[in-house]
Amino acid sequence: MFNLKYKDDLYKLILSVFVLSVISVFLIAVIVILFYSYPAIIRYGFSFLWVKAWNPPKEVFGALTFLIGTFTVTFLALLFAIPFSFGIGIFLQEYCPLFLRGIFTVIIEMMAGIPSVVFGVWGVLTIVPWLRQSVEPFFDRYFSGIPFLRVEENIGYGILAASIVVAFMILPIISSITKDSLASVPKIAKDGALAMGATRLDVIKDVSMPYALNGIYGGIILGFGRAVGETIAVVLLIGNQAVIPKSLFSVGYTISSLLANTFTFAVISPIYASAEVELALILLAVSLIINIVGRNILNKVIGGRFNRSRFGGG
């Protein structure tokens, strides 16, 4: 006869196998990246991080150009996305009429579901022509003296196009986490302030924001994590030239777009492939650190509740 205890042990054993596979998937990812980047790490050491040249035939590899490209696009995207995300979160949680809140939230969540390649197509067919025909000529005429706003080639592709589209892609993450953080403010605190004659703005400024601010920081950090790894939309929009961007309108290159464009050629030469995997290692390390920090902040504020907008990307 079956011993009941024994039966549960068997069940636990079977489930443990699945748990081990999840752990091993994670470990495989980390080990594969470390293993294949090892030759480049020992050959170039830390100089990999500040050498500008990227010359596969001469086997000179430095990540600086791509690091600068990646972080420029990421910071610009955050710069564009944060004010709008604040506004959207505040609008949905505090100002929006209740009967519209559901449908408006769905619209923002739908945006999180749109694949990155579709955003890229939209960027190529909408944002790039708009920049080329309206924005760049305008800046060229009136702001050409300012170094960061100089238009070098009027082609539309470049840092700005990529940042705008990436900003729209991280907008749903930050705004829905802002909304969730605002929703976690105790109603009694808000009602108390309203009863004392405070306006909605006072409540947001003095009651909700101080309470929700940590959660919003968490959302921004997760948005940063998404933007750093964003690949396909950036490949289509950034112009893909290994130069350090001098202005908002110049072309550039990011780590992820370099990997997407050249990794399949790189595997022919071991050291070239290894250098590319080391770039992936940088992305992996950044994403792991960012997610640990962001998750810890978020768990304190909105608990373990999972936000749908955190999925997606490609």
């Binding site: 039966k7 068997l10 069940y11 489930l15 699945f18 748990v19 596979s21 999840v22 752990i23 998937v25 994670f26 990812a29 594969v32 990246i33 294949y36 709008f84 995300s85 506004g87 959207i88 505040i90 609008f91 100002y95 408006f104 923002i108 739908m110 945006m111 579901g113 694949p115 990155s116 390649v117 579709v118 955003f119 197509v121 939209w122 909408t126 729209f168 006072d202 994590g225 790894g229 964003e230 690949t231 396909i232 992820s256 997407a260 399949t264 595997v267 995997v277 992936a280 992996l284 994403s287 960012i290 997610n291 998750r295 373990g304 999972f306 749908r308 999925f311 997606g312 990307g313 490609g314």
Partner: protein, 310 residues
């Protein structure tokens, strides 16, 4: 009452609380400005959703017919005539292969977390899963290349094939299903499971007869979210599957590569050809339609679950 009446002829011995009408007006004005900015942010922020859909339909509507969906791409450059059948077939392959890997592992791990996990193991495992969700997809692509596709060194040597691409997408899908299964089980009213266990059921019997039924909605939500996520992925497929303009002849090795919607759109928009750009938009409409139908489905499921569970 006497005090109130005396306010009019206050001789200075009583405190006066002035009502500053201007102050209130100013406050209301600032509030209105805040409303204006919040609404503007929402309008501009949600503009791409509408514009992406509008533009995709406006540009691609010419090809939105049965022939586009049911024929393989032909012509020069490839895709100039014909449709996207290769991509639709390929997506079916990839979804099935990814699900074979991700669904059992995800559900199993989720059940372990909620039934057997100690507090410490749980927090470590949950962290691991959330970290896996955060890993950029291009990094998963490189991992998938070295594990499945490469023909040199260690690995499975599948070549650029549906199996390699599908399993890589399965890696991305697993943590999503894990976390949502765990969430679904944790949302079952505690009495259900405790009741079953109190009646002498083993945890397996409780799973079989109570938990699976009560958590089914949540688990399906996880699977649909996972599928929704992987059909939009392009970067992992660049190094594991790439693209095939025809039908696959197998799932590994030469001829094992499949087409893929996201990949097709990516390749078409890269070509300097107006007709391929139009086709990319038409394919975007099909892809978005698929994603929104899945979205609708999982909203329906979570609505029904909420309704019948509590």
């Amino acid at each position: 009452m006497t005090e109130l009446a005396n306010i009019e002829k206050n001789d200075g011995s009583m405190p006066v609380f002035p009502v500053d009408r201007g102050y209130i007006k100013r406050k209301k004005f600032y509030n209105n400005i805040a409303v204006f900015f919040a609404v503007t942010a929402f309008v501009i922020g949600s503009f791409p959703v509408f514009h992406i859909i509008y533009e995709a339909v406006a540009v691609g509507h010419k090809y939105l017919n049965w022939r586009f969906i049911s024929t393989l791409p032909t012509g020069f450059p490839i895709g100039a005539s014909g449709g996207i059948l290769n991509a639709i077939t390929g997506d079916v392959y990839l979804i099935i292969i990814a699900s074979i890997l991700a669904v059992p592992i995800g559900i199993g791990t989720g059940l372990y977390l909620s039934l057997f996990g100690k507090k410490r193991t749980n927090s470590v495992l949950r962290l691991l899963n959330e970290l896996m969700i955060g890993i950029p997809s291009v990094v998963w692509g490189i991992v998938g290349f070295y594990v499945f596709s490469t023909n040199a060194g260690l690995g499975f040597h599948f070549g650029f094939s549906a199996l390699a691409g599908g399993f890589t997408l399965g890696f991305i899908m697993t943590p999503i299903i894990t976390l949502l299964t765990e969430q679904a089980v944790s949302q079952i009213p505690a009495g259900y499971i405790e009741g079953a266990l109190a009646m002498g059921a083993t945890k397996w019997q409780a799973t079989k007869s109570v938990i699976i039924k009560a958590a089914l909605g949540g688990i399906f939500t996880g699977i649909l979210l996972g599928i929704m996520n992987i059909v939009g992925q392009t970067a992992p497929l660049l190094f594991t599957n790439y693209y095939n303009t025809g039908m696959p002849t197998g799932v590994t090795g030469p001829g094992g590569a499949v087409g893929d919607m996201a990949m097709l759109i990516f390749i078409y928009i890269h070509e300097p050809s107006r007709i391929l750009h139009i086709k990319a938009e038409a394919a975007s409409v099909v892809l978005l339609l698929f994603i929104f139908v899945l979205d609708l489905g999982l909203r329906l499921i979570s609505y029904l679950t909420k309704r019948f569970l509590s």
